[in-house]
């Protein structure tokens, strides 16, 4: 018998959550809570907001586990998408949008925030992804970060960096494909 991969365990957790098993939610949280918190914190920049959004996101996982569709990707991708969407919604509704945009590019606030240490797995994954991002062109990296963490639409990204919209669209896709190619699924799922 093969041991269950992390991806299989995630799917099993989703099935149990659908049946009302709160222990499965706790297990999934312990595995991916750090990643989701890091994304939310990077977008919002403030720990208090990030904690609030993190809890909302996980409660949504609890209530809407039935909406996870396996054919659309691994559980962790669904979790991250859900957490990011909630963070971007909060970010857009926040008055201090300008301050947050600075955080996207330089991480000044996040870098100085005190907080519990991440897990070793999270650190390793961060290292690998950061190294892979360095392999992208600076333009590809910039459009991905502005769109993903800054919550900008493609037109807004184009305006921000002064590039044609079509070029921004192309950089976005090429950047994502390159990232996926550099880090095949088994590296993280």
């Amino acid at each position: 018998m093969h041991p269950m991969s992390e991806s299989d365990r995630d799917i099993a957790c989703i099935t149990r959550i659908r049946a009302g098993d709160s222990g499965a939610l706790a297990e999934l949280y312990d595995r991916h809570g750090g990643l989701l918190y890091s994304v939310i914190l990077k977008i919002l920049g403030r720990a208090a907001d990030a904690e609030d959004v993190l809890q909302e996101a996980w409660f949504q996982v609890w209530k809407q586990a039935a909406s996870y569709d396996r054919s659309r990707g691994p559980v962790v991708a669904w979790l991250v998408t859900l957490a990011r969407s909630r963070a971007i919604d909060r970010y857009r509704s926040a008055a201090a949008r300008q301050r947050m945009e600075k955080a996207v590019e330089a991480d000044p606030e996040v870098a100085t925030l005190p907080g519990p240490a991440a897990t070793a797995e999270q650190d390793q994954l961060h290292e690998r992804v950061s190294t892979a991002l360095e392999s992208l062109t600076p333009e590809q990296r910039q459009v991905l970060q502005l769109a993903y963490f800054g919550g900008l639409s493609q037109s807004e990204v184009a305006t921000r960096i002064g590039a044609p919209l079509g070029t921004v669209k192309s950089w976005t896709r090429q950047g994502l494909l390159k990232l996926r190619e550099l880090l095949p699924q088994q590296e993280w799922a």
Partner: protein, 272 residues
């Protein structure tokens, strides 16, 4: 058709990053509604890339109280769901247990109570029947809407579909641009204007140009959400069609169905 395909694949990337422009959203969602296997596969592939991007955020662990509060909230949710389910079952059991071992007066009271319960049940049944009828009507209405949406979505997959870019003529400096998806088979079209804003006292008007002569196809007005995505059930025959154009008119349009009254702001040639 290859450029068309590339365009959708680029939009897959924007969608997984959640950065689709509103002007692209309608067209792309309509395309996805047609169950394009290639785009579905691309979305899954790029979705993993997007999730990886998440790990580039500086790794942090959430404070332990977030987990504790989450689990408390989940327990409260479970408890409230459980109470609702139990409440529905317990009441009828209690009513039945009282009906057999009492004297006639008690039996009368029980019968009266049963009558009340029966009347209540009948009322509930009537209410549920009414709700069911209302819901069925709503389902029929929604089914018709979905069919209509599906029918419009199929326009983007039609072999006869053509995309006409509407380029600015320079008569307007607001960054207005647009495109028109035209199905030569059904004569239907969807017009999407980018950077268009509703201007008090003016309207955009769409024109079909044949043999150099314009013919009005009607006004282009924003939908409830403010987007200029306009569906035309009949944009006319492709035969002899040279171009589409958009003019900026006074409110209500040109007034002359064969000639714009205001400046022509967008023009798109129809490829032969």
């Amino acid at each position: 058709m290859s450029a068309h395909r590339e365009r959708y694949l680029d939009l897959c990337a924007a969608r997984v990053l959640g950065c689709l422009d509103e002007s692209d959203r309608f067209e792309f969602e309509a395309h996805l509604a047609s169950a394009c296997a290639e785009c579905e596969a691309e979305l899954a592939r790029l979705g993993e890339g997007a999730a990886l991007l998440a790990a580039s955020a500086p790794p942090m662990a959430p404070p332990s109280h977030v987990r504790a509060r989450l689990l408390e909230r989940v327990q409260a949710d479970l408890a409230s769901e459980g109470a609702t389910e139990r409440g529905g079952v317990r009441a009828p059991r209690a009513a039945r247990s009282h009906s057999s071992s009492w004297g006639w007066a008690t039996a009368f009271a029980a019968a009266a109570a049963l009558a009340i319960v029966s009347y209540g049940s009948w009322q509930t049944g009537e209410r549920l029947r009414h709700e069911l009828e209302t819901t069925q009507g709503r389902v029929t209405e929604l089914t018709a809407k979905v069919e209509n949406e599906r029918s419009w979505a199929s326009l983007f997959d039609s072999r006869e579909a053509r995309i006409v870019s509407l380029a600015p003529t320079g008569a307007d400096s607001t960054g207005l641009a647009g495109r028109l998806v035209y199905d030569a088979a059904s004569h239907r079209a969807v017009v999407i204007l980018d950077n268009a804003t509703a201007r008090p006292g003016s309207d955009y008007e769409l024109w079909a140009i044949r043999g150099g002569a314009p013919a009005s196809l009607g006004l282009l007005r924003p939908d409830a959400s403010g987007r200029f995505t306009v569906r035309l059930p009949d944009a006319g025959d492709i035969a002899g069609l040279e171009a589409f154009a958009v003019s900026l008119e006074r409110e209500g349009g040109s007034g002359n169905p064969t000639a714009p009254g205001g400046p022509v702001v967008l023009v798109g040639k129809v490829a032969g």
